[in-house]
């Protein structure tokens, strides 16, 4: 195998296509108990009493009192989420008790028969009403006040975004088994971060590292939804398994999953832009607010990423950026592909279009006036250390989509029932964790183990959740070692066997952990002795960066950036406000592509998930309860809703990534929503400030 980008058959292809893959819900163990939850029916209140029915023999009830420590470790020590609510419930669906027993129907009936008596307390249900802050950051650059004072024109706009549900095909699930003799907890399940799960179970049950083992099962999608949430259910399942002395399975049903698991943060982004007489943005103020829900969880780090893209891909000399994540009595929000960036890219890209229209320029020309370049400062005083290929991406997008000609044509007055529009978005994604977490906390490690038969096993904690990691990691090792792909093995991680290489999140796997695979493989190649058992280890080494200071929100937030351009062309029906996509284009720089087919899957899936976010994926909370809790009511686009996408990649080698690769998974989602809404704006001649931009919103604007 020579060309790393050339597509191969995926390592998991046959297993999954044949239907033989066993997911968590397929797992059976002797004496295994099934479980269900008693959950809060109110948004906020005190628990006065819990009336349990008489439990039959073999059935157990588990509460927060059964745990060594009833708190889920996430990031900070404040506002920690209880594993089970004991005194107070803070959102509809919060777990109060778990019942487990041999018959699932009976367990569910016992849960329904359990009566909780509450004293209702006032509930804060929306971001606008919220007063309690879970995280707050602020930064500035230059002198925004002075620039606003001299501005020829000031424009203020407010944008809002709704929830987005990850909609992984496989619901959340976990099985825990307590080995009483060795006092060891074994946990199996669907997850993105085996070591997060392990650390959580250790803390909650008061066990040391030797006595907790976590194994990832085949995982049917995550999109961030299985970054932190699986830790919670692992703790619940583990507590039950220990108490019952039998294996306990937790598998959510879809409605439960959609009601209680973390989602993309709804947001409100206020901008004020100051323009000079030459139509250049001289200063930008941003006020970003995310709805964290009941418990902050990952909200602070999500917010950090929102702030880092407040100016999009544009060079604006004077900035004043403030951001908060606020607490409400609604379901907690957390990680979702893009991690705080999609909200802000919708806002900044829409703002750019509106400003361009105000100064009489095309969206493209106005953007070209402001694009960042290599060696420019980032918004936080870091640097774009590498070549910024935005002009190349735009040239390619123009060539493929004929954007400028169509934009001009659709700007002419249109008649009739159907009107056309074309929209453009520019975006970037900082690869890996924000700040210095790789170096300071994660310190990822990869081990390559060569067996006597000269096959090589990759030992790391990264997981394949459908994104193709088994294939891409194996390719990296195989190409370095000049081995056939089938001689490289990658088993689902088992924390008793693999080192901690950090969670499978933040578009870090290929760039950070893949680089360790490459380095370990190079080491192994240097000492390779056929027929001998050998092992090499690679530990993380940080590139030279401008140190990140979180308190000052200053420095290099990311080692490298991936870049993208999307174009969406559509037709809108004036009678119904409904749209039909006519063309979708994506041009990306992800460094070297590790596998063309895998990357194409990421690109097409990401763009459609982004367009879904901007158009039809409506999830609302009414009186604190999620209204769309099934795939009948929560709409994600299907293949019927799009057209064949045209995707291209621009090569831009990155020296610290394996074979020159950078992060790719999240980038592809960021541009779909703003390109879609821009196209709708052109077709309708109206401005919009909220997503999802449903036909309801489009028609309401049109009928005015």
């Amino acid at each position: 195998m020579e060309d790393i980008s050339k597509a191969v058959e995926r390592k998991d292809h046959r297993l999954k296509m044949s239907g033989r893959a066993e997911y968590t819900c397929d797992k059976r163990m002797e004496g295994m108990l099934y479980s269900a939850f008693v959950r809060s029916e109110i948004a906020h209140g005190r628990i006065l009493d819990i009336k349990l029915p008489v439990l039959p023999e073999g059935y157990v009830a588990v509460s927060g009192h059964d745990l060594y420590d009833n708190h889920l470790p996430v990031i900070t020590d404040e506002h920690e989420q209880p594993i089970f609510a004991i005194d107070e419930v803070c959102f509809v669906g919060e777990a109060i008790l778990m019942l487990a027993g041999p018959d699932l129907q009976k367990v569910r009936r016992l849960c329904r028969e359990t009566k909780v008596v509450y004293e209702e307390l006032p509930a804060v249900l929306t971001l606008d009403e919220a007063t309690e802050t879970a995280a707050h950051y602020h930064y500035h650059k230059g002198d925004a006040e002075a620039a606003f004072a001299q501005a020829a024109q000031v424009v203020e706009e407010v944008f809002t975004t709704g929830y987005q549900e990850q909609a992984y095909l496989e619901v959340q699930g976990m099985v825990a088994q307590w080995d009483a003799e060795n006092r060891k907890m074994h946990v199996f399940g669907s997850m993105q971060a085996p070591y997060h799960v392990k650390n959580a179970v250790m803390r909650v049950l008061g066990l040391d590292a030797e006595h907790v083992r976590v194994v990832q099962e085949v995982t049917g999608g995550g999109f961030g939804g299985k970054e932190d949430y699986p830790s919670l259910i692992a703790c619940q399942a583990a507590a039950a398994a220990k108490k019952a002395g039998a294996p306990v399975r937790v598998v959510y049903d879809r409605r439960e999953d959609m009601t209680v698991t973390t989602k993309r943060h709804p947001s409100r982004v206020r901008y004020a832009a100051a323009l000079d007489a030459q139509h250049r943005i001289i200063a930008l103020k941003a006020d970003i607010c995310l709805d964290a829900g009941a418990y902050p969880g990952l909200s602070s780090v999500v917010l950090q990423r929102s702030l880092n893209v407040a100016a999009g891909v544009y060079k604006i000399d004077n900035l004043d950026v403030d951001g908060r994540a606020v607490l409400t009595h609604t379901v907690s929000n957390g990680a979702f592909r893009g991690f705080g960036a999609p909200q802000v890219f919708f806002a900044i890209e829409s703002l750019m279009n509106h400003l361009a229209a105000k100064v009489g320029m095309t969206p493209l020309a106005f953007r070209q006036m402001h694009m960042v370049q290599q060696d420019n400062d980032t918004v936080t005083g870091g640097k774009f250390h590498y070549y910024v290929p935005l002009p190349d991406l735009l040239a390619k997008a123009e060539e493929m989509s004929d954007y400028s000609r169509k934009y001009a044509a659709y700007s002419q007055p249109q008649q009739g029932r159907y009107r056309k529009g074309i929209g453009l978005s520019l975006f970037m994604h900082g690869c890996g964790y924000t700040g210095s977490a790789e170096k300071d906390f994660l310190r990822p490690r990869v081990i390559l183990r060569k067996y006597a038969n000269d096959t090589v096993e990759i030992l790391c904690g990264s997981v394949d959740i459908g994104q193709g990691l088994k294939t891409t990691f194996s390719k990296i090792a195989a190409v370095v070692l000049d081995l056939p792909l089938e001689r490289v093995i990658f088993h689902n991680p088992d924390t008793d066997r693999v080192p901690d290489s950090g969670p499978t999140v933040a578009s870090r796997s290929i760039m950070i952990v893949g680089k360790l695979v490459e380095r370990a493989a190079k080491k192994l190649k240097a000492v390779w002795e056929s027929g001998k058992e050998q092992e090499t280890v690679a530990d993380y080494e940080s590139p030279e960066l401008i140190p990140w200071n979180l308190a000052k929100f200053n420095g290099d937030a990311y080692p490298a950036y991936s870049w993208g351009v999307n174009v969406v062309e559509l037709e809108e029906d004036c009678l119904t406000g409904m749209t039909k996509l006519l063309g979708v284009w994506g041009v990306f720089d992800v460094g070297t592509v590790i596998d063309n087919t895998v990357m194409l899957g990421q690109a097409e899936g990401g763009i459609l998930q982004g367009i879904g976010y901007g158009s039809m994926e409506k999830m609302e909370s009414a009186a604190g309860k999620i209204r769309q809790t099934s795939f009948t009511d929560y709409m994600i686009p299907t293949a019927m809703d799009t057209v064949p996408n045209q995707i291209a990649f621009v090569d831009n080698y990155y020296e610290y990534g394996p074979f020159g690769a950078k992060g790719a998974g999240e980038l592809t989602l960021l541009g779909g929503a703003p390109a879609y809404t821009a196209a709708v704006e052109q077709a309708t001649g109206k401005s919009f400030h909220a997503i999802p931009l449903t036909p309801e919103r489009i028609l309401a604007a049109q009928q005015k």
Binding site: R417, C574, L575, T576, G577, M578, M616, K618, E620, R627, Q628, F631, T632, D633, M635, P637, T638, M640, D641, T694, P695, E696, L699, A700, Q703
Partner: protein
């Protein structure tokens, strides 16, 4: 325990139903029953009844067997093209392969995808039961009378639907047939609202018109009173009265706000589609 039966004839199916009465439910395609989680002590599966899968056209009446699947009907050229188009927009191939026309009717959802057209075409439901001698007895009811409300139909516990009859003149002699389903996406979507309009214009006069609206009330809404007002109008008269007619229909619709859409949107789109249809 649930008892399940797969009868080989309609008479056998009716005998089973007569014995079990409300204890039993018929399962045709099962595409509504299965996700609802509904069950009963006795399930009678109808897939084996070829008698119910026949289409015939005789004496100006198109008769569609209750057990015809959407896929079967989409491929049958005797079925009006517009009805086939409506069926083609139902769910996705897997559902269309097993879902049946009588299932869509008996489920009696205001959002049923075939219903606005069946209302507009004056479809008649043919029901069967056993008489005292154990012989088949049938009765017929117009679809508007058959469907009484949300998931409420006029069917005795011992009865089953045998066929749907559509008078051919309700579509063959028509000059304009239009329908629209507003779903949140192009497949696997329940209609937010739907519209069917059929009319016949001769010598610049609106001779016949039928207008039906789905998912904006407890049942599909069709007003014979308003249709009577429209019939006989010249196209010039129609153009002059179009706005007021649309307004009158606006008062008839009873849309709601729910997790799928808003009352305002449902009403507005229905009226936009109506106005567009009446632009003759």
């Amino acid at each position: 325990m649930v008892k399940t039966y797969m009868p080989c004839s309609v008479l056998e199916a009716l005998r089973l139903k007569q014995e079990a009465q409300s204890e039993a439910i018929f399962v045709a395609g099962g595409t509504d029953i299965m996700p609802s989680g509904r069950t009963a002590p006795v399930l009678i599966y109808l897939q084996g009844l070829t008698e119910l899968q026949e289409v015939s056209k005789f004496d100006g009446v198109l008769r569609i067997g209750a057990g015809c699947t959407y896929t079967q009907l989409i491929g049958d050229e005797r079925i009006p093209k517009i009805l086939r188009e409506a069926m083609h927009e139902i769910a996705a191939p897997a559902i269309r392969n097993v879902g049946t026309i009588a299932g869509n009717i008996c489920n009696a959802s205001p959002a049923g995808d075939t219903l606005p057209l069946l209302y507009a075409m004056d479809a008649v439901i043919v029901m069967g039961s056993l008489d005292e001698q154990g012989q088949l007895r049938t009765r017929k009811l117009g679809i508007e009378a058959f469907i009484q409300g949300v998931r409420k139909i006029t069917l005795e516990p011992s009865e089953m639907v045998l066929a749907v009859e559509i008078p051919c003149n309700s579509y063959e002699q028509m000059t304009k047939l239009q329908r629209y389903k507003a779903g949140a996406r192009k497949a696997q979507a329940i209609a937010k609202l739907s519209f069917a309009g059929i009319c016949r214009v001769e010598d610049d006069v609106l001779q016949d018109v039928r207008l039906a609206f789905g998912a904006v009330g407890a049942t599909v809404i069709r007003s014979r009173k308003l249709e009577a007002k429209l019939k006989g109008l010249t196209l010039t008269e129609l153009a002059a009265r179009r706005t007021s007619i649309v307004q009158e229909y606006g008062e008839l619709l009873r849309p709601i706000d729910d997790q799928r859409s808003t009352a305002d949107y449902r009403r507005q789109v229905c009226l936009n589609l109506l106005e567009d249809f009446l632009s003759l």
